[in-house]
């Protein structure tokens, strides 16, 4: 009788996935986070804004072809938009049939307007989507991130991580991807999907030519939200051992910033100070700073207007990153 | 000095100590048992921090839970890391002495004395966050002896200490005992306690398995089955000689044939008789050893009996 499989055996397996092994940190992190019932509810709830976005795209494309709508909308838009609309309408070329059947003309004008303004309206709508969705992002990050690093601080897991061929940077990246996974799942993917729906539902695929920039803007917006908020969340998580302090700090930063900004705005208006100085208070509220940056990403304002707000996001990212790395590498320094 | 009468402590459904009765006159005691065996519970009941679920625990004749009298005569050195980090050593010891009822001047004097004794004078003005493990243990000891108690109670005094610090602690405690004072020391590392205590209490699962003086304990060891190894160049003849003796149960050859192992239920008698057995034979026996010659072995044997394996 031969004895095999007794005791300790050496292992001949090859460590093939060394370069991407840090992704396992994300996998485990996401799994652990997903155990939370509230997160599941929140993720489900977060799909509603995306539904609205999809409905908007659908309606936008279909509006011109609905009977009776064009006659009502054309004068309405004319009075709101003024010169802008007149220009678009004047440029419409009418065919012989259309002059003979004047009832089709409003429809055509509306369709032309819709086509001309598509990039603008679509961008604007996606911007609103992201801007509204920001609140949900803050909630979701606030649910997942406090425990991500503070638990490792408490259980001194760093020694176990860093005694393996993993660098502190890869560790942080793994944790960031954990949070970003949810961000992408709940916002980027639905936004991209809605865009695709819009394209499919629109009159022709030529739409892609005028709106091809939008998916890239969506990705840029994701990155713009993900990086500073993700790094800030992890930075707070790394500073404490008890997750609830990080959680409190996280929500406090957003809520206090948001409320203070609006209170200061209100007092400014009531004391009739110059409108130019209004924007100096915006720095307190990261929420509004991100809104400003999103407006630039979706082409609604120029970079020059928001360059200080952009710089603020860069500063938040860099400072959070430095603090985070310092905390994480503490056990391996002396 | 200490008396427990059928003391049981339950934490909800978890058992802390299970019907322990003992009477300890002044002396140096080692309370030995693995982690979770009830050592800390026993000490906490003794010092009045816990009330027994059943039975009575008396310290210097009084119930420490209700009466602070006995607490003035003891010094307690807990196992937990209880030191505030941003306070200096001197401040803390002084504060602890003041809590014992001394005024500030007296407390300062005593604090200095005791810090000198534990060799922490150089570090007395440093924040305790920067203290090493050994220093932390010594300062806890300092506050326990500053008011010159009759009984010093220590919970895991050697845990985490490096050999140098352990040596220092052993010396401090030995000196303390030489002054005629009492010690009750709880630990799960047997050989560290052996050097200091002359009496042992073995506890497991909240139950007191055995107690006695060192020599009683070794005597107990001398009467349980043991294996004695003899290294000899004349192994075969030695084996023949030895197996003839009635107190020897079995004889085994060593691997390599350089000696024999003798199995017996009466090791003490074998030790005593060995020189005489060798008298008439000119056999060389170069080494005698018995691997189970320690408190650890006793503990293991007791555990076996406890579980019904012997």
């Amino acid at each position: 009788m031969a004895m095999h499989d007794l005791g300790y055996r050496n292992w001949d397996e090859e460590a093939r996935y060394q370069k991407t092994s840090w992704l396992h940190i994300s996998r485990y992190g996401a799994r652990l986070a997903w155990k939370s019932l509230w997160l599941k509810r929140l993720v489900l709830f977060s799909f509603f804004p995306a539904v609205f976005l999809a409905v908007f795209f659908f309606l936008y494309e279909q509006v011109a072809s609905w009977p009776g709508i064009a006659e009502m909308l054309v004068p309405a838009i004319a009075s709101v938009e003024g010169e802008d609309f007149i220009e678009v309408a004047s440029a419409v070329q009418l065919t012989r049939e259309e002059i003979q059947n004047p009832s089709e003309i409003p429809k055509k004008i509306l369709q032309t307007y819709v086509n001309e303004k598509r990039p603008v309206y679509w961008s604007q709508m996606v911007y609103y989507f992201f801007a509204r969705a920001l609140g949900l992002v803050i909630l979701i990050f606030g649910l997942i991130s406090p425990r991500l690093i503070s638990r490792d601080v408490q259980s001194r897991a760093f020694l176990l991580y860093f005694s393996r061929p993993i660098t502190p940077f890869q560790y942080v990246l793994g944790k960031l991807v954990t949070i970003w996974l949810f961000l992408v799942l709940v916002f980027t993917l639905p936004a991209l999907f809605s865009y695709l729906l819009g394209v499919l539902v629109s009159p022709s695929l030529a739409v892609l030519l005028s709106t091809w920039l939008l998916p890239f803007r969506i990705l840029a917006a994701t990155f713009l939200i993900a990086l500073p908020t993700g790094l800030l969340a992890l930075c707070l998580s790394s500073l404490v051992q008890e997750a609830r302090y990080a959680s409190f700090a996280w929500f406090a930063i957003w809520i206090v910033g948001y409320a203070s900004y609006r209170i200061l705005l209100a007092t400014q208006i009531s004391t009739a100070a110059s409108t130019a100085s209004l924007t100096t208070y915006t720095f307190i509220s990261i929420y509004d700073v991100i809104h400003q940056n999103l407006q630039w990403v979706f082409g609604l304002v120029s970079f020059d207007t928001i360059k200080w707000f952009f710089l603020e996001l860069v500063a938040i990212s860099v400072i959070s990153y430095l603090i985070l790395m310092r905390r994480v590498t503490a056990p391996i320094r002396i | 000095m200490i008396s427990f009468e059928h003391v049981t402590k339950l934490y909800g459904i978890v058992i802390g100590v299970n019907d322990i009765s003992l009477e300890l006159p002044p002396g140096a005691y080692g309370l030995l048992g693995p982690n979770g065996s009830g050592k800390s519970t026993l000490l906490n009941v003794l010092t009045g921090q816990l009330r027994p679920s059943r039975g009575e625990a008396r310290l210097f004749g009084a119930d420490a839970f209700c009466d602070i009298g006995p607490l003035e005569r003891i010094g307690f050195c807990p196992s937990l890391d209880i030191l505030p980090t941003d306070v200096t050593g001197l401040t803390w010891v002084k504060y602890m002495v003041q809590l014992q009822g001394y005024d500030e001047a007296e407390a300062t004097r005593r604090a200095h004395d005791v810090l000198d004794r534990v060799e922490l004078m150089d570090a007395r003005d440093r924040g305790m966050a920067g203290y090493s493990r050994g220093m932390k243990q010594r300062i806890k000891l300092a506050q326990a002896i500053a008011h010159e108690p009759e009984l010093l109670i220590l919970d895991e005094p050697f845990s985490g200490l490096d050999p140098v610090a352990r040596h220092q602690m052993t010396e401090l405690l030995s000196d303390w005992i030489k002054e005629g004072k009492s010690v009750l020391m709880a630990s799960h590392i047997l050989h560290e306690v052996e050097a200091i205590a002359d009496n042992f209490l073995l506890i497991y699962g909240g139950r007191l398995l055995a107690s006695g003086a060192t020599n009683e304990v070794y005597e107990m060891l001398d009467n349980v089955p043991r294996r004695i190894d003899l290294v000899s160049d004349d192994a075969t003849q030695l084996a023949v000689l030895v197996q003839q003796q009635s107190i020897v149960d079995a004889v085994q050859f060593h691997e390599g044939g350089n000696g024999v192992s003798v199995l017996t239920r009466k090791p003490r008698e074998v030790f005593q008789q060995l020189p005489h057995w060798l008298k008439d034979q000119q056999l060389s026996v170069r080494e005698v050893s018995s691997s189970d010659d320690s408190l650890q072995a006793l503990f293991e044997t007791l555990m076996k009996i406890h579980r019904g394996q012997i």
Partner: protein, 337 residues
């Protein structure tokens, strides 16, 4: 005595697992390691030293986590400055502190550890179970690590160090907090790994009986310098050959008998005697003496310097050297230190 002796040369089959030469590390003013030179052969090596002696710094340098200030070194043939990652891929580290990854079960933690090393997931899980079998973790491997006792956490720490089949294990206080029987099991496991599975082990510990029991050689570090580096056999060898004898019976009578026979008594306490044996023939002489004194002999072994004594001596020497240096430096500045 202050010079570190190089350990016995490695055999032709296995080259040394760790080679350090002239390694120094300072943090600002503090000199953590000073000119450390070692050659650690395969087998089990004990690393001894008081707290603050530079042991943990050295371990971090060996793992490539901290860069030394000067000097050279290789671990398993890889440079400690450049190949830190490669070193960590082949070395298993068991930290001293109580550390774990919370929120997951034991087997998942060991699996996670193996995946972080880059092994394919399913294979890593199989291997995790295998290693946990070896470490004696039964059903508890399916429970969350947060609910584990200290002993079980130690087992888990050991398992995660072993899971990727390292060529070198670095264990920091592996038996601390363990019950005596668990301690023995772990020590036996370590011995068996070194003997049968070709894994070298470096154990950093304060528990000298452990070192005595399983190590082949030991290194003593104090105040950042290597004070002793030798095989256990050599360290144990007393300066004067002697035997240790423990008797059963009237110790005083035996003492007198021995003195009368002209034998030098080097040490005595209770029933224990250490007798000088310059010619190596004392073992035969004691039997008639025992008969004469009518005592039994409980133990008769060649005396050895306990590692405790070796350690204390080394540390005391280090302190003397350090004090001398402080006096030297302080000689220039009046009123300082």
């Amino acid at each position: 005595m202050a010079d570190a002796s190089v350990l016995p040369p490695a055999t032709a089959i296995s080259s040394s697992v760790i080679e350090l030469s002239g390694l120094s590390k300072n943090f600002g003013q503090v000199q953590a390691l000073r000119d450390v030179s070692l050659s650690v052969p395969a087998g089990i090596t004990g690393l001894l030293g008081p707290n603050g002696s530079g042991k943990s710094t050295m371990i971090k340098i060996l793992l490539g986590l901290v860069q030394a200030s000067s000097g050279h070194g290789t671990v398993l043939g890889r440079d400690i400055y450049r190949d830190g990652k490669a070193i960590r891929a082949d070395v298993g580290f068991m930290p001293e502190d109580d550390c774990y990854i919370s929120g997951i079960s034991g087997v998942e933690m060991v699996h996670f550890a193996a995946c972080l090393n880059g092994y394919p997931s399913a294979e890593a899980l199989r291997r995790a179970h295998e290693v946990l079998d070896y470490c004696g973790a039964e059903e508890e491997r399916y429970r969350e690590v947060d609910t584990y006792s200290t002993g079980m956490r130690q087992k888990l720490k050991f398992a995660q160090a072993l899971v990727h089949d390292p060529a070198l294990l670095i264990l920091d206080e592996p038996t601390s907090g363990l019950d005596p029987d668990e301690r023995q099991l772990l020590l036996k496991r370590i011995s068996s790994l070194a003997e049968k599975s070709n894994i070298s082990v470096l154990i950093s510990t304060h528990i000298l009986p452990d070192v005595q029991q399983i190590c082949d050689q030991a290194i003593v570090i104090a105040t950042g310098e290597v004070r002793r580096a030798d095989s256990i056999e050599n360290l144990n060898r007393p300066t004067i050959p002697s035997i240790e004898i423990r008797v059963v019976g009237d110790v005083a009578v035996f003492h007198d008998t021995v003195l009368a026979a002209g034998i030098e008594v080097m040490e005595t306490s209770e029933d224990r005697f250490v007798l000088a044996d310059p010619h190596g023939s004392l073992a035969e002489q004691v039997w008639p003496l025992a008969r004469q004194a009518d005592v039994g002999i409980r133990s008769l072994v060649p005396a050895r310097t306990s590692l405790d004594d070796v350690f204390l001596q080394a540390v005391q020497e280090a302190q003397v050297v350090e004090e001398a240096q402080v006096v030297e430096e302080g000689g220039g500045n009046d009123g300082n230190a």
